[in-house]
Amino acid sequence: MGTSKLILAIESSCDETSVAVVKNGNEILSNFIATQIDSHQRFGGVVPEVASRHHIEQITLGIDQALKKAAVEPDDLDAVAVTYGPGLVGALLVGVSAAKSFAYAHNLPLIPVNHMAGHIYAARFVKPIVFPSLALLVSGGHTELVYMPAENVFKIIGETRDDAAGEAYDKIGRVLGMKYPAGKNIDELAHQGHDTFNFPRAMEHDDNFDFSFSGLKSAFINTVHHADQIGEELDRKDLAASFQQSVVDVIVSKTKRACEQLDIKQLILAGGVAANQGLRETLDSMIKKDLPELDFVKAPLKLCGDNGAMIGAAGYVAMQHGESADLTLNADPSLEFDWEPDAVR
């Protein structure tokens, strides 16, 4: 076992402070996660300054708990991986400062990790990634299709032009008087209703892989407000089902087209909204019906949200490719993969 690699991985890009110990990029020894949801629920969304303050309360404890639970001493570690972007700058800085300090004190290599690569590599805990591969990343901040021709190469071929899917869920959740975050509630409600409102499917048939959810959001809000004005009561279950069907239809049809046009061996579903049952089920049945040869890997439900383990998985791959950072590493809140919409054509 002399070749096994242990990585301490730190994630603090949004409202979860997480520290994991990951072995060989595919085995979780520990995955400390402290969530701030109860705090941000007060404000109906994540308040960056509040998030940053909470991360400091948790970060050292998280490192200690992760090591103890994994029964790993700092001397056993091979590297420290950390999310350095994208995300909230003040939140990222806590993880980056802690990772640099810990790596420096224990003389360990420091591996900078793109948070979105982390989400994709959550699939690594299910099975190895086979290239070329396509990842559908859906979260509160992102909706994008990422083409991976080879290991550690990421190219965005399509992304949302306005709201991320998760963002749209939270906004319409607010209109329905739901607590933040609303995604899970709407998903559950949608399963009890039917698509009766037939909301628009924006850009569904456009010749690109971009998404747009702001038109859908407006259509939804207008429908609800109009009903309020004339004193009409709308069925919340049907509203949720119609909204979700529109989101899922667009995402699934674009993903299907990308799968068909790219010569890929595997499709990966990841990101916070990847926990959405409606999306998981629709993708499952589309692939069964239209792309039966394609290997479809869903990030484990427990690892769809932000967590350190996924950063450890991506960090392991980055380390194999010789990536490292020095003590000047800074947070990069708008970090992005290369944008290559023409990779397909």
Binding site: N31, A34, F43, E49, R53, V89, A105, T328, A331
Partner: protein, 242 residues
């Protein structure tokens, strides 16, 4: 005792390594650069210049605030993680009390930082030798109220701030006691003094729970409390889920 002390609470960044009262090495920068990129490399250089290793450090002293929220976060996160990682003691010192040490004479000292909209982060201290007595606790306060406090104390005051010009007029109009000021280079934090203050302080911080002294709740939390005066939660809003 080997001490590492640092302050990034404002534009300046100051790092020092001490062997008890004896200064081994120090570095201060005063450039609008990112503390996140600069702090660790300068800590590393200062420790190396001292002929030490981070694992030789027995005590870490950090200026815990008030100041720029981002600067405080970088300093306190770095301090608590380093202290945890090398098993050193952690000490937090007021970044205003630290500035008060720049005054070489005895008397009333009022260090402050501009907090915008007519407000400052300020404290009022009485200095006798290196001994500081707090007269008015560090706080976020309107500059006018700060001047009222000073008028009430009724003794000559020495302001220490790099933001003096922003408040010169206000001082001339409102202050009834004689005043002087230290600004520019003289108003920069000196991590050597920080190390000395940390050497004398006995209250250790807990490396897990230590947080910056922001001295100001966030606007979101302030508004929420106004709207929910009876909603009191015991304990943290953060929950461990795994």
């Amino acid at each position: 005792m080997k001490i590492l002390a640092f302050d990034t609470s404002n534009v300046a960044l100051s790092v020092a390594v001490l062997d008890n009262e004896h200064l081994l090495a120090t570095q201060t920068t005063n450039i609008k650069r990112n503390h996140s990129s600069q702090l660790m490399p300068i800590i590393d250089q200062t420790i190396k210049t001292s002929g030490l290793d981070i694992n030789d450090i027995d005590r870490i002293v950090v200026a815990e605030g008030p100041g720029s929220y981002t600067g405080l976060r970088i300093a306190v996160t770095t301090a608590k993680t380093l202290a945890y990682a090398v098993n050193a003691e952690l000490i937090g010192v007021s970044s205003l009390a630290l500035l008060a040490q720049n005054d070489t004479q005895d008397g009333i000292v009022a260090p402050f930082f501009n907090a915008r909209q007519g407000n400052v982060f300020a404290g009022i201290y009485e200095k006798k030798g290196s001994k500081l007595t707090t007269l008015v606790e560090d706080q976020h306060i309107s500059f006018e109220d700060l001047l009222n406090h000073i008028n009430q104390i009724g003794k000559p005051v020495n302001f220490i701030t790099t933001d003096f010009e922003d408040f010169r007029e206000s001082i001339e109009n409102t202050l009834v006691v004689p005043s002087s000021h230290l600004d520019g280079w003289n108003a920069l934090p000196n991590a050597y003094f920080l190390g000395l203050m940390g050497l004398k302080k006995n209250e250790l911080e807990n490396v897990y729970t230590a947080v910056p002294q922001y001295l100001r709740v966030t606007e979101a939390e302030r508004n929420w409390k106004d709207q929910h005066p009876n909603d009191v939660r015991s304990g943290s809003y953060v929950r461990q889920i795994d």
